[in-house]
Amino acid sequence: MTARGVGSTEPPRSGGAGFAGAGAGKWQPVVGLEIHVQLKTQTKMFCRCANGFGGGENTQTCPVCLGFPGALPVMNRQAVEWTIKLGLALDCEIAPRAVFARKNYFYPDLPKGYQISQYDLPSCTNGKVLVPTPKGDHEIGIVRAHLEEDAAKTTHVGGRTGRIGGADYSLVDFNRGGTPLVEIVTGPDVHSSEDARRFLQLLRQTIVELGISDAEMEKGTLRVDANVSVRPAGSSELRTRCELKNMNSFRFVAQGIDAEVKRQIALYEAGEEVVQETYDFDAGSGALTARRSKEEADDYRYFPEPDLVPVEPPAELVERLRAEVPESPARRIRRIEGELDLDRAVVLVTGGLDGLWQATVAAGADRVAAANVIANRLAAVDAAAVDPAELAKLVEARDRIPRTALDEALGKVAEPGFSAAPYLEHEAVSDAAELEPIVARILEANPGQVAAYRGGKEGLLGFFVGQVMKETGGKANARAVSELVREKLLA
């Protein structure tokens, strides 16, 4: 695990968005993802120290996770069960016998000199995720999902900017060391940054709904590495791939893949070869920095961990876990896709809002209006705390009551005992007689925009409506204003 700055490769910046560089159509990106999910068990994988943030440095440690002489690991039953459950949710085969192995290498964050990880007999293999796309389902194969322990946290101090190269010394906090991780490995089935984003959104939601991890990239409880190569479109070869690490949001994963794909295409088109490397993605500059060269290929000397015994999950256990797996986000998207457009369906489902949407519709709200209100206004709200009947009333009254009242109501809709009734009493101003003078005043004050609108810039309608709403202190009925403005402008 040596990490050295071996030089920096700026991605080509020209060429526009996505892969639309010169010759992009001639190349197909081939991407496999490796996702590490930190399980939110109470305790670590092989000892019963607390698992989680918040404790002072090195306060969540014991002889086992500090690798003291003679200390022995004991598996966390919850972590084993959650791994199997995740495997079931990903349509995997559950191994009748899974075995932990030792992966041997030296690094200060690895107290035993080896990481305990399932290796040739992982708990879950051969699964798939069907990702709904505008062109139908896109199948991403799950090669394996295995359980392992995390490394500790090393901080590099002094030297240049605190990065590894040139540090004066390093400091180690073993709190994170030994916490449970599930590593999920996909097949090389991802062919664009958009594919990656759609898949990761679904995967993340699946994990969150299983209740096994917070799966937050910003906190590091979900980590994504990408193995990227490109090949001539239409071919099925697999060319040299590079690994991207250190991308801590879905957006950066997409940016990193795009940058690496462009870099590889440019190399091939210049008649050069791609050299296998590991790159760190720097979100600030968009730069890819090589970590180490391949001649330092590691030899991890895996062998079965003799301090542990195999996992042979009884059939009853697997069946119980299977029964506990909720309907998958992908299936739910497909189910509601007929009633909404795909993007809306994805937003609702991957936001965990589709249940609320369905209940709100069932309570009498318009499908599209309810979807808009929920997706646009309630994304950050605890959906389970919202009473769908009350929300339905607000959705149905959205054009009738003043904007200020609607905003206030939506801000409180998740509070216990929320009632829509007081907000419904406000009537928005939709009386033309009252609105007309205001509209006239606004049009008069903005002759340039009026001319532009009449010249074809219809998008300016919103501008005029906004001005009127402002003028009325948000009490006007937006739809009535909109109709009135359009009428006047067309006059």
């Binding site: 390093s170 400091l171 079965p304």
Partner: protein, 94 residues
Amino acid sequence: MAITREEVLHVARLARLELTDDEVERLTGELSAILEAVSKVSELDLADVPPTSHPLELVNAWAEDEPWPSLSLDEAFANAPAREGDLFKVPPTG
């Protein structure tokens, strides 16, 4: 089954042992002799024999997910060669 000097150096690097030239010399001879002796296992045709990684056929030895008290900082650092604050201090990895 002789082991070469280069192999000895490679293995020493994997094992993170800094060996003196004398040690490399001596180990090349000793390991060759030992490997010669232990290579005896390859005389047997064991294609159909399963490996034994453990003398007992135990499975599913696990613990419930319930916390136990961690060490105090004094205990965690009792034998530490170098400490800074509440962190273990090591020479730089770069």
